[in-house]
Subunit: 166 residues, 2 copies
Amino acid sequence: MTKSISANAFPAHEHDHTVCIADALDSAEQHCVAHQLRFTPLRRQVLEIVWSRHAPIGAYEILDELRNESRAAAPPTVYRALEFLVDHGFVHKIESLNAFVGCDRPDSEHVGQFLICGSCHQVGELDDPEIAKLIAKKAKTVGFDVSHQTIEVRGVCSNCAGENHA
Amino acid sequence: MTKSISANAFPAHEHDHTVCIADALDSAEQHCVAHQLRFTPLRRQVLEIVWSRHAPIGAYEILDELRNESRAAAPPTVYRALEFLVDHGFVHKIESLNAFVGCDRPDSEHVGQFLICGSCHQVGELDDPEIAKLIAKKAKTVGFDVSHQTIEVRGVCSNCAGENHA
DNA sequence: ATCCGTAATGTAATATTATAACATAAAATG
DNA sequence: CATTTTATGTTATAATATTACATTACGGAT
């Protein structure tokens, strides 16, 4: 069975963040061991900060958190850690927000399709091959050969839609 | 017949820019008249600059052009004109580039799907309802109600793919 | 035509996001 | 343990975008 939505997509608002953060860090660590990547303290720390927010976080917010955790840091510190995390699929950049979210599926070569809730500001991640294929196919009809897709969708998640019943 | 790709998508590299720029300005002007929008000299000038590039152009590049054309200008001048142009569909923002491209179809309520050529840096615009519908449908399966889609695709356009024959 | 209210633009300052360049430190490799 | 590479520290600056407030131009009422 292929999951078409990430495990971290719009968890119930009350869910236990500590567990999913720990899972994500473990998963990243395992992936790094398996692929001979250096999961340094800084990279782990940045990934933990990203996950802790559980919503898109800006580079300078990460920087503030690092400093709160009494780590000497400047912008390049953060951007370099993010570059590593993005390159290896532990984090995605949301272009339309200039912000970053954690991804718990570093292994799959997925094209993230992001669902950005305008109410709770959390981001769910679809990884639907049908969407990717349709786009590639349509582009091909005009002779365009696709190498990468950026898909970011605004709207309202189910948790938030359900909360207006008052 | 519904066109699924914009007239401005990847014209031959030798095409006559002056004509498409003039067409776009005329089209924008007509739209503004019809909708009681003020197509001021500044807005026209910015739109013309955007179209002249015929590829994504940054706000500060527009600013430089304005100044070249001996118009007093500061960043807000540009960003406000762009806001108007984007709001009314004369220009789209390419989020992944922090840059802007002209659109020649202000009327249609289209969700632009942008094809960004990594070689010539031009941008084609698909406006394919199937893609939009599929995304909305897939999002719905996880309870997400879509209001806006940002779709930006990297790759190589047909003109550029054909140019490597040496 | 003149006044008035609104919308657009001018202007100065500053916020936010991101990178360049070079120095230092830590780790992997032979 | 010496060497090479990779990662991080540090300073400065580039690139993108907005806030706040002053001024001007426009559109509608009289």
